[in-house]
């Protein structure tokens, strides 16, 4: 090779190296080391996609923003609401509610957290309508006023006995002085580009490496935790694409805690793994199937009953859920809600012969192959691995009773679209947090309800629910709800299959976690994280 060519080759190589190094990822800038203390590293499978707590999105969004924007109320293991930012709450009269809040909370930039923030948040959400659960709670809300620095009063459109607690639990408090800069809180990205974030504690997001890690630093003054200061100096959320890598990382010590619930089959394995502890969080949701009553076959009670008796509930709970699920008695009132639970409501018995005879009672005749002349299309989300597993069991046991079920698993967006359009015979899914029966039944069983997937319109049931909405007496409310639940169960307006307890793995070097119901809170709720410490 002649000299010119050699030089040319070197030049190309040099240019290539320079070009590649220009494209190479750059090291993050040097940051001053923080004083002493420990870092809690938490693994999650979903990336944080949005920092605005008013807009519902991925779980990681919720976990991270929860550590910055507090809720008025929290929840106890039996589903009852507990104070957090709000110390007292209730009703002044039928259409006016109130909250009394703490006076010792401050935003991380020094501004005090007052009733003005709370009232402003509620009004802004009502006005700008960001799509999320918060806005969904505001149907009967009209406006909020900060009567003093620590008292907020809310005006309701009509009497609603649940709304004060529901808004308090589901809604965040956001800093007015930050969010008011935006035209609309529904569009405000809150991505920290304007000088970082403002947090009421226990932690403040300081560094984001998209798709990799989210670093949060301690907010020194956090009265809600024992001792007044969160124990860990830093909390880092690390993103992993799947649970296998998370488990390996936990075992090797790279992460201290896995935020997402463990797949049922892994719970026992991890319990038995040295160095790892498994914490339990009571489930507040349920898995269910609903039968679309706008379809002529499913409008018949016997057919729905047949389908309900053709499911092997025990096996599903034993095998798919590994015994970590509990029957609700096919009632929408779950055992964990101690006040409401009615153990006289019993689960549908798995009996394929009974199912078959019910179908015959409805006027159908089985063909030579033993199958009835129809097929029901069941939709479910492929991303939900547990449901994906038990729908095949449902299909198989229904086939034993002569009922043909066609499984249609789709990705989440298509599934949601089909659900909303009523494009299914049978819907299989999960309801994540059912903390208040009245609110839940309003949405699920009233005609036109947002999640009324069975398209039921039962006047007797509707009346019970509407009455309960304005009933403030707890005992009365419980009675109405139990009556309603019995109707739902007997008419198979909803087939509640189980409520699942959730398990979370963490390193045994850490302790002090405080477990709360549901995957959104579990052991990654603000109080738990602020209290966690190395042994």
């Amino acid at each position: 090779m002649n000299r010119t060519a050699k030089l040319g080759a070197l030049a190309v190589a040099a240019v290539t190296v320079l070009a590649l190094s220009a494209c190479a990822p750059s090291a993050p800038p040097e940051v001053e080391a923080s004083a002493g203390s420990d870092t809690l590293t938490i693994a999650t499978t979903t990336d944080v996609v949005n920092y605005n707590p008013l807009i519902g999105n991925s779980r990681s969004d919720y976990w991270v923003t929860n550590l910055m924007y507090p809720h008025l109320l929290t929840i106890a293991e039996d589903g009852t609401k507990q104070p957090q930012v709000a110390l007292e709450w209730g009703y002044v009269d039928e259409t006016t509610g109130f909250y009394e809040i703490r006076d010792d909370l401050t935003w991380s930039d020094g501004v005090k957290l007052t009733a003005e923030d709370v009232a402003w948040t509620m009004n802004a959400v009502k006005q700008d309508a960001p799509s999320g659960t918060f806005y969904g709670q505001l149907a009967n809300f009209e406006s909020a006023t900060a009567v003093s620095d620590t008292r907020i009063e809310i005006d309701l459109v009509t009497a609603d006995a649940s709304i004060v607690e529901e808004i308090g639990f589901w809604g965040n408090v956001i800093p007015k002085h930050v969010f008011e800069k935006a035209d609309s809180v529904a569009d405000f990205p809150n991505d920290g580009s304007d000088g970082g974030w403002v947090s009421a504690g226990p932690y403040l997001l300081t560094d984001v490496q998209v798709g990799q890690s989210y670093t949060m630093e301690r907010v020194e003054d956090y009265p809600l935790v024992e001792g007044g200061t969160p124990i860990s100096a830093k909390v880092i959320y690390r993103v992993f694409p799947d649970v296998n890598t998370e488990i390996l990382a936990l075992q090797s010590g790279e992460v201290d805690l896995i935020a997402n619930a463990l797949p049922p089959a892994q719970v026992e394995t991890l319990r038995g793994t040295p160095g790892i502890e498994v914490a339990e969080a009571v489930g507040l949701g349920y898995a269910h199937m609903t039968y679309n009553m706008t379809k002529p076959d499913l409008a018949k009670l016997e057919v729905r009953q047949a389908l309900a008796h053709a499911v092997d509930y025990e096996t599903i709970r034993e095998v798919v859920l590994q015994g970590q699920a509990v029957s609700t008695g096919s009632s929408p009132l779950m055992p964990v809600l101690g006040d409401y639970y009615d153990d006289s409501i019993e689960e549908y018995e798995f009996d394929t012969d009974l199912a078959r005879s019910l179908m015959e009672d409805a006027g159908y005749e089985a063909g030579a192959d033993g199958m009835f002349p129809m097929s029901f299309r069941l939709i479910y989300s492929l991303q939900d691995s547990v449901t994906s597993q038990w729908v095949t069991l449902v299909k198989d046991s229904a086939a034993e009773a002569g009922i043909a079920i066609e499984l249609q698993g789709t990705e989440r967006n298509t599934y949601l679209a089909q659900t909303n359009a009523g494009d299914f015979d049978i819907y299989a899914g999960n309801f994540a947090i059912m903390d208040d029966p009245v609110t839940n039944m309003t949405l699920t069983y009233l005609p036109g309800g947002v999640i009324n997937y069975t398209y039921v319109d039962d006047p007797e049931l509707s009346e019970l629910i509407i009455t309960a909405q304005s009933t403030t007496d707890k005992a009365e409310k419980v009675e109405l709800m139990q009556e309603a639940a019995a109707i739902v169960r007997d008419n198979v307006y909803d087939n509640i299959m189980y409520t699942q307890n959730l398990y979370f793995a963490h390193s045994d070097k850490w302790t002090g976690f405080i477990s709360k119901p549901s995957e959104l809170l579990s052991i990654v709720n603000p109080l738990s994280i602020a209290s966690a410490r190395l042994k």
Binding site: M1, N2, T4, A5, G8, A9, V12, A13, T16, L20, C23, A24, P25, A27, P28, P29, E30, V31, T39, T41, D47, V49, N50, Q209, V210, G211, Q212, S213, T215, K234, I236, R238, V239, F240, P241, D242, N244, T245, E246, L248, A249, Q251, S252, E254, Q383, E411, R412, N413, T414, L416, A417
Partner: protein
């Protein structure tokens, strides 16, 4: 042919390839069954936003107009907006690109560095045990399934032996020299997986072209001229065998990038490949499209680089 015209031809081909990739993507989404609006408008969008977006892409226009609009958007760097993250696809991908480049680049370099000596050994000791061993390595390598290898390496060297970290591209909270070191240690296992699947075909091709080169006239001539065997091997035969194997790198690049998708998924490596995996589960089409185009562009660019190197190495391509 002159170097200048060679360069021009290669550039032209590169542009052609990218155009081809763009057109293929466009046609796929418009012609395949299903709603083409799916590809640009998220089903969760408000109706107004959806209509606006559809108009922007001209989805109600005749195909040729849509194509023009699509190209125009691309030229402006608009790859669409991600469904799940509601931010431009370009932003989503651009921060992932360096990691994929790093991973595939390292795997490539490792393949060459290990592959060349192995190929040489095999060719030099043709028919003997060393040759057999190399051939076995080669054939085995070609038959590996990337996720299996990835999980195996992760499990053995990451967990059981604990030599390497698990997941991610670097250790959070490190800076400066420590950061670079952590990048390296996180790179080893995924790059090794990728390299292993490449190595096989590279070694075998190296071996066979070298064997052929050793049989060529100029080699015989060199021997006849009394040059020592080793010098013949290294200086003449090898250099000529490097030509087609350089081409091979380019050919294999598409395949390598595909392997990167699977590797990044297993190792939680934050590159474009993992971006694809996450986008698939959500059916985030804009990201999938954009990722494909970006990867295609990467392949084209690297191909051009290898071709330039080839052009310099090949004596048949005269310098101006």
């Amino acid at each position: 042919m002159s170097l200048a015209s060679f360069v021009l031809r290669r550039l032209g081909r590169g542009v052609l390839t990218i155009w081809f990739a763009v057109t293929v993507t466009f046609l796929l989404l418009r012609l395949l069954p299903g709603d083409p609006a799916l590809a640009v408008a998220s089903p969760n969008m408000t109706e107004d936003a959806r209509v606006a977006l559809l108009e922007q892409y001209g989805l109600n226009e005749p195909l040729i107009v849509q194509y023009g609009l699509y190209l125009w958007q691309l030229v402006q760097g608009n790859l669409g907006v991600s469904f799940t993250q509601s931010i431009p696809v370009l932003d989503v991908l651009i921060q992932r690109l360096p990691w994929t480049l790093l991973l595939t680049g390292t795997a490539l370099v490792a393949t060459v560095v290990i592959g060349v000596p192995l190929g040489v050994i095999a060719a030099a000791r043709r028919g003997k045990l060393a040759d057999r061993v190399v051939q076995i390595i080669g054939v085995t390598g070609q038959s590996l399934f990337v996720p299996s290898i990835g999980v195996f390496l992760l499990f053995t060297f990451g967990l059981v032996l604990g030599w390497f970290p698990i997941g991610g591209a670097y250790t959070t909270g490190t800076y400066g020299a420590e950061w670079y070191l952590s990048v390296l240690s996180h790179l080893v296992l995924p790059a090794t997986s990728l390299m292993l699947i490449q190595l096989g075909s590279y070694v075998l091709t190296m071996r066979s072209t070298l064997i052929d080169a050793l049989g060529e006239d100029y080699t015989v001539l060199a021997h006849a001229n009394g040059l020592p065997a080793r010098r013949v091997l290294w200086k003449h035969a090898l250099r000529n065998a490097l030509l087609p194997t350089t081409t091979l790198i380019g050919l294999q690049l598409g395949f390598l990038v595909g392997g990167a998708v699977l590797t990044e998924t297993v190792f939680a490596y934050p590159g474009i490949g993992r971006g694809i995996y996450e986008a698939v589960t959500q059916l985030d089409f804009p990201v999938l499209q954009g990722a494909f185009l970006m990867l295609a562009a990467t392949v084209v660019v690297v191909n051009m680089i290898t071709d330039f190197i080839y052009g310099i190495l090949d004596p048949r391509v005269k310098t101006a």
